[in-house]
Amino acid sequence: MARLTINGTAHDIDVDPNTPLLWAIRENVGLTGTKYGCGIAQCGACTVHIDGVATRSCGVVVSDAVGKQITTIEGLAANGVLHKVQKAWIEHDVPQCGYCQSGMIMAVAALLKEKPKPTDADIDAAITNICRCGTFQQVREAVHMAANA
């Protein structure tokens, strides 16, 4: 048994504490917006916030996430209002297949919290997610759009 606090709600789940957080979120809690891409913390599709820090959830085990505030893509909007990154993503039509975009958006949201007006160099340093469709040009433009929103 483990208690995970996800998007402000406590979930008591019957899971081996060594299970990757990604799979606990997807299978035991049932929130599937967080995606599996590589399982070795390379691609970033599984990025969530743990105590506000963008983290690749495939590389964190459940026991290390207990007692922390976990935010997934489903919890990014507050009180039914989309986060400014989500808004910019819609306005700028960023996603192509979209599979990597939950992780991309979570990474960008964390960046903007730390650096509200990131430079291109800040974006390059902080956003290391893989996108095979190649949305990077639109991602960069939308990050600046969100920063100026």
């Binding site: 299970t19 599937t32 893509i73 960023v94 996603p95 599979y99 990597c100 095979r132 190649g134």
Partner: protein, 727 residues
């Protein structure tokens, strides 16, 4: 439309409410006097259009959305002719089972070869136009006025003379009973108001909130999960496995052999299934292919560069004779590696099998091909099977088109647990090592010049793997794989050679290693563009000519190739000084009936290449959504440059060595050049594709710039093998 996996989903009910002649038709396949109703009871106007009483316009789309924007583009084309309110448009996917029951009323489901829009634009537009005519007729009938006096704007129908108006939603029921016009006229491009515009995609909002249901996210009551290991050597088999070692592990329900080469564990969660299958002792019979390595393959291909036997793909004059007698000869050998598609969503499918029904939920680029795989694996007839495609696929790039090995496996597993839905998900490692790889190819190019430095002859000898020989052998022509010559074919074909060379020979020595080849986004133009366009650059420099001017002299009979090349040269500033330390390179190609060109600007420092800027031009004939074309073009450079710098699948002991993104890298945002897209709508009767063509000019444009910067030619890829990094 949100895809809701529903075990009882039946979108269409063929009802017998008969009035009038043949209605509710796709255009060419009359069903007889029946009204076809959508699941909610709304009668469809025709196969492409359903209009609900609340004015929602449902456009049926059978091509797959996997990121390329086809869903939105096709809806724009239907809406354009329909003259409906775009804000009311939604979409839905018919299933292949439904299509079969209606004599393939929706035509081909295949979404590969950049054909999503270019191969269906005419009949979907006619579907929209026919629906509009029927809706207007219904209003005219109601008002007892000539239909010519009735007009429509955004789904509101008006009769000016009497001042009456109504809406599509109100007359849809009556319209559905009218006879469909046989050959409705289509609008001119210049009159487009919805198509041709950079409208936002229909599928974006749910993608930014995590709501979009991908195949990996499918949920069904009682769902179990499966993880699989297939023999790491293609052609190998399972000798034995020790199920008892894992049956007691957490959550494990069953260990299932899958065909003769795979074994899966079914468990309550996928993590449990994966943990158990990893722990499962398996003994493989790896077979003869275990002796094969990248080196043995390369040696075999090398021998083909001078082999006597070869299939001729394009020929004029006497290239070999001219080369033998040439005043000057230039020769080079290039090589292209195996590559994995690596879509972000690994292969997966969910299946439920009973003796009376087999259903599959999956991401696929061709639901009909997935359906065929389902039939074959299930042992059930077509009327007892169906495939429910997820709303979007998490990338496809050709991996999910002709190959439904993952569907076959899912059905075989589900068959062992009748009535229980089972979701099979591959690990990234399984995905990387069981791909349908970009084929390997080598190429020897020989150019001949006369004493005045005119190119008089060119011989391109390809040596390597045929995709068709493995995938669609019935499409070989007397043993030849015509697709090998993409971008090099004779004039008039959809992948035509873009130069006039007086003596030309392009031929292929076919060598098919056991590694399974596949259609990898762009397919054979990826290597052919590198071979041809880098060599054109070599030829130009060998006679001291400007690469642009050299090409132009050979392109007078190829005006659309020339137009895209000129467009990028002009916008990039070719012929004018580049900024300090910046070097430029060019490439052009024609494929999938589209003309593409790129000018790359790079700098080089200590074996690091920084790609700063790419100017790209594309002429697909018609631009249905310029904003999405721009995104496809920009994204193409991510796909093409990742391949150029990082991607190779090597073979050792018969198996693919790279298992994940740590050894099969893909470029990140810090490496992304600024891409400036020029869209040229060259018109014509044949439409071109967008999703694939541009990828092939990425690598040669950058490599030609690299030569400009360093004076060095690199002729084998990826660049990481030469210790060159992407900055």
């Amino acid at each position: 439309m949100n895809y809701v996996p529903n075990m009882n989903r039946r979108s269409f009910v063929v009802g017998a409410a008969a009035v009038g002649g043949g209605l509710a038709l796709g255009l060419d396949l009359p069903l007889g006097p029946k009204v076809v109703r959508a699941a909610d009871g709304t009668p469809e106007i025709n196969a492409w259009v359903v209009i609900r009483p609340d004015e929602t316009v449902v456009v049926r789309v059978v091509r797959t959305e996997m990121g390329q924007g086809t869903l939105t583009g096709l809806a724009q084309l239907v809406a354009e002719e329909l003259e409906c309110d775009w804000s009311k448009v939604t979409t839905e996917y018919p299933t292949p089972g439904e299509s079969l029951a209606r004599k393939r009323v929706w035509g081909d489901f295949s979404t590969g070869g950049s054909r999503g829009i270019r191969m269906s634009h005419e009949y979907v537009r006619k579907g929209g136009a026919a629906a509009r005519m029927m809706l207007l007729q219904a209003a005219a009938n109601e008002w007892k006025v000539p239909v010519a006096e009735v007009t429509v704007d955004k789904g509101v129908i008006t009769h000016k003379g009497s001042g009456r108006s109504t809406t599509y939603g109100k007359v849809a029921d009556a319209a559905a009973k009218l006879e469909a016009p046989k050959d409705p006229p289509l609008k001119d491009r210049k009159d487009w108001k919805i198509a041709g515009k950079p409208l936002l995609r229909l599928d974006t909002p749910d993608k930014v909130t995590g709501k979009t249901v991908y195949g990996i996210d499918v949920k069904l009551p009682g769902l179990l999960n499966a993880a699989i290991r297939d023999c790491p050597v293609q052609g190998g088999k399972i000798k034995s496995f020790d199920a008892a070692k894992v049956t007691g592990m957490p959550g494990v329900k069953k260990v299932v052999q899958v065909g003769d080469s795979g074994v899966a564990v079914v468990a309550d969660t996928w993590w449990h299934a994966k943990t158990a299958v990893d722990a499962l002792p398996v003994v493989w019979d790896e077979g003869e292919n275990v002796k094969v390595s990248s080196a043995t393959i390369a040696e075999w291909l090398k021998a083909g560069l001078d082999a006597d036997q070869a299939f001729v793909g394009n020929e004029n004059g006497d290239a070999k004779g001219v080369i033998a007698a040439a005043a000057k000869k230039v020769e080079a050998v290039y090589a292209y590696p195996y590559q994995n598609h690596a879509p972000m969503e690994p292969m997966n499918a969910t299946a439920r099998w009973t003796e009376s029904k087999c259903e599959v939920w999956c991401p696929t680029q061709n639901a009909e091909s997935a359906f065929a795989a389902t039939l074959a694996a299930s042992g059930l007839p077509a009327d007892k099977c169906d495939v429910y495609k997820t709303y979007v696929a998490g990338g496809g790039f050709g991996r999910r088109g002709a190959f439904h090995d993952y569907v076959r496996q899912a059905v075989l597993i589900a068959k062992e647990m009748p009535g229980t839905p089972v979701k099979l998900l591959w690990t990234r490692e399984e995905d990387m090592t069981h791909g349908r790889y970009h084929p390997v190819m080598q190429c020897k190019l020989t150019g001949a010049f006369d004493k005045d430095n005119n190119l008089t002859g060119l011989h391109m000898r390809l040596s390597g793997q045929s995709i068709l020989a493995n995938v669609f052998p019935q499409n070989l022509v007397n043993g030849k794989d015509p697709l090998t010559f993409q971008g090099l074919m004779p004039q008039g074909q959809e992948h035509a050679f873009g130069y006039t060379v007086p003596n030309l020979m392009i031929d292929h020595s076919m060598r098919n290693p056991h590694i399974l080849p596949g259609f990898w986004r762009g397919v054979n133009i990826n290597q052919n563009a590198i071979f041809l366009e880098c060599f054109m650059d070599e030829l130009a420099h060998s006679v001291g000519q400007d690469p642009l001017e050299f090409r132009r002299k050979l392109m007078s009979k190829h005006p659309r190739n020339l137009a895209v090349l000129n467009a990028v040269a002009e916008k990039a500033g070719w012929g004018r000084p580049a900024p300090q330390g910046i070097y430029r390179g060019l490439a052009q190609m024609m494929a999938f009936n589209s003309y593409v060109a790129a000018c790359a600007e790079i700098s080089v420092s200590n074996d690091k290449i920084k790609v700063h800027r790419i100017v790209a031009a594309t002429d697909p004939g018609y631009g249905v959504n310029p904003a999405q074309i721009e995104r496809q073009v920009a994204g193409s450079f991510v796909y093409g440059l990742s391949a150029l710098f990082y991607q190779e699948c090597t073979v050792k002991n018969g198996r693919i060595e790279q298992e994940n993104f740590d050894t099969y890298n893909s470029m990140r945002i810090n490496e992304m050049p600024k891409v400036e897209t020029i869209l040229i709508e060259g018109g014509g009767t044949v439409w071109g594709g967008v999703g694939e063509p541009t990828i092939c000019v990425a690598a040669p444009a950058v490599m030609n710039a690299y030569f400009a910067a360093t004076g060095k030619r690199i002729r084998s890829f990826p660049l990481k093998n030469h210790n060159i990094q992407m900055a």
